[in-house]
Symmetry: C2
């Protein structure tokens, strides 16, 4: 299934979000324009903007306001990716050079701030204080999730609960806001708004778990980064936690955390790949996905609701 067919009735309207990015790229200052071109022409799937628009379909679909929110959500996501890449010293993303591989780190940090500013500006254009506060609250939760991940690097004393809290902050919160915000801007009934928030949150949890599985199973061509990148950076994800839980006495994850050699890393990756923890992780993603779909029950049974169900199932099976 092509992603282009996945977004149903809002597919064509995503072009308006890209128009906003095009106008943001038009700046007087050449070096800034070149940097914006790298981060805003990356061929992302616009999954979060699509969720904003789909959520808007359940109320009064005011496209002019919704595309502002959709652009804001994607810009916020992009800003955090730019800061992530500086933190990770990543050279490529989606197979293309990162800004920090072309410019220096400090300039790249400021580019992230510049993108936050645009994100804040776009959401302000919705003229909707509730959407604006959702935005600022979400950035708070996301930044705290990233800080927790960073402080917890290489720390084997974390639990699965810590992991779920962390990915809830750094990933699911923005999906929740995309869906809740779309419903808020469209003046949907409160129970539907709450349902969309639940859908987005659980969708985001499933999305991140699948991402963390792909980090072990994917190949570099699909991922645009080497397999095992998370472990290499000391980030423990669900498969690692499950492996440690299954083999509490001695396991290759803890062995790697203890010496961090590339041989230990390879052993840890192989141990994860050859065990049942990837299937177990996928089952947890499936559970979040089911909860996401369950959250849509109160909505009218429309083609848009079906698109949201299909999308949740799709992200579970994706390969990149």
């Amino acid at each position: 299934m092509k992603t282009t067919a996945l977004y149903g009735s809002v597919q064509d309207d995503l072009g308006k979000v890209e128009q906003i990015f095009d106008s943001i790229k038009q700046v007087d200052y050449g070096p800034l324009g070149a940097m914006l071109d790298i981060v805003l022409s990356g061929g992302g799937k616009l999954l979060r903007p699509a969720l904003v628009l789909l959520s808007g379909r359940i109320g009064n679909y005011n496209l002019d306001l919704l595309v502002r929110l959709a652009a804001s959500v994607e810009l916020l996501h992009t800003a955090t990716l730019v800061h992530d890449d500086v933190m990770d010293e990543a050279d490529t993303r989606r197979g293309r050079p990162t800004v920090n591989s072309v410019y220096n780190n400090s300039t790249t940090v400021m580019l992230g701030d510049y993108l936050f500013a645009h994100a804040a500006d776009e959401v302000a254009k919705t003229d909707n204080i509730r959407a604006i506060r959702l935005f600022s609250q979400t950035l708070k939760v996301m930044a705290q999730g990233e800080i927790r991940q960073d402080i917890a690097a290489y720390d084997s004393r974390q639990t699965i609960r810590d992991y779920l809290q962390r990915i809830g902050g750094k990933t699911a919160s923005l999906f929740a806001t995309a869906c809740e915000g779309g419903a808020v801007v469209s003046d949907a009934p409160e129970t539907w708004i709450e349902g969309m928030r639940e859908y987005g949150y659980n969708f985001g949890m499933a999305f991140q778990i699948v991402d963390d599985i792909l980090d072990f199973t994917g190949d570099e061509a699909d991922l645009g980064k080497p397999a095992g990148s998370d472990l290499l950076q000391g980030t423990l994800t669900l498969p690692s936690f499950l492996l440690m839980e299954n083999q509490p006495a001695a396991n290759p994850i803890q062995a790697y955390l203890g010496d961090r050699s590339s041989q230990r890393l390879d052993e840890a990756i192989q141990a994860v790949r050859s065990s049942e923890v990837l299937d177990d992780s996928h089952q947890m993603a499936r559970d979040f996905c089911d909860r996401a779909i369950e959250s849509l029950t109160p909505l009218d049974d429309t083609a848009d609701r079906q698109t949201m169900i299909d999308l949740a199932n799709y992200i579970l099976e994706r390969k990149s």
Copy 2:
């Protein structure tokens, strides 16, 4: 003159801004609390919040809304300082250890993002879309100013005009927003709002030029950083531009840019100190200060207006 006496009728109300910082510091997650304690207990002068409140005095002084805006402006300023310190690899600020000297750079970048989130959240609490948009526009301009400064490092082809544009973005824009925002939130008449913006902008230009002079003349104890820090980082400021202009053929600034040794740096600092360019720079700051005061002409002749005049004169003579 003590700064504590400088803020006139709004002096005591600044305590409410500090209360907001105290509540932001109360978080469940210990490491985050420790970091917030470093950046939000720094004993800053709260100059920008004072300007917000003073500007609010010219209209309907709604303290509950104004302290939100005042906190937002200071948080935005603090977030940029945190990102600056990462960029500059600074170990101390105001004589105290920086966050990035205690935690790693990536965690510090995320802390800056977390502070942006709080800044966005506080301004959203004003329920004033115009103030919110001022905020996001300002962050855009500030980030672009920082990017320009970074890209222009060690580049002797810049002009004084480039310098003024850059400090207008990275510094004066936030002072302008503090003053304009205070007047907006207080529903002041449009001509007064415009006057406050002009006052804040010119005040900020004078403030930054004095800062750039102090980087050459101040001692480490007062500044909390070594003298000549700007040049060391390749940042050319007004005194350097004036020296290059006075001695176009061969001058110690260009000699330093060409080889960047500590001997060349010392020679450049001494050349600036022993020439008339510091006086000329101070005269330019004086001109901006006069323009700031001139901008207050339309306002009623009140004690608050006099406080704003005194404050502009004070920042011109400050030693740290």
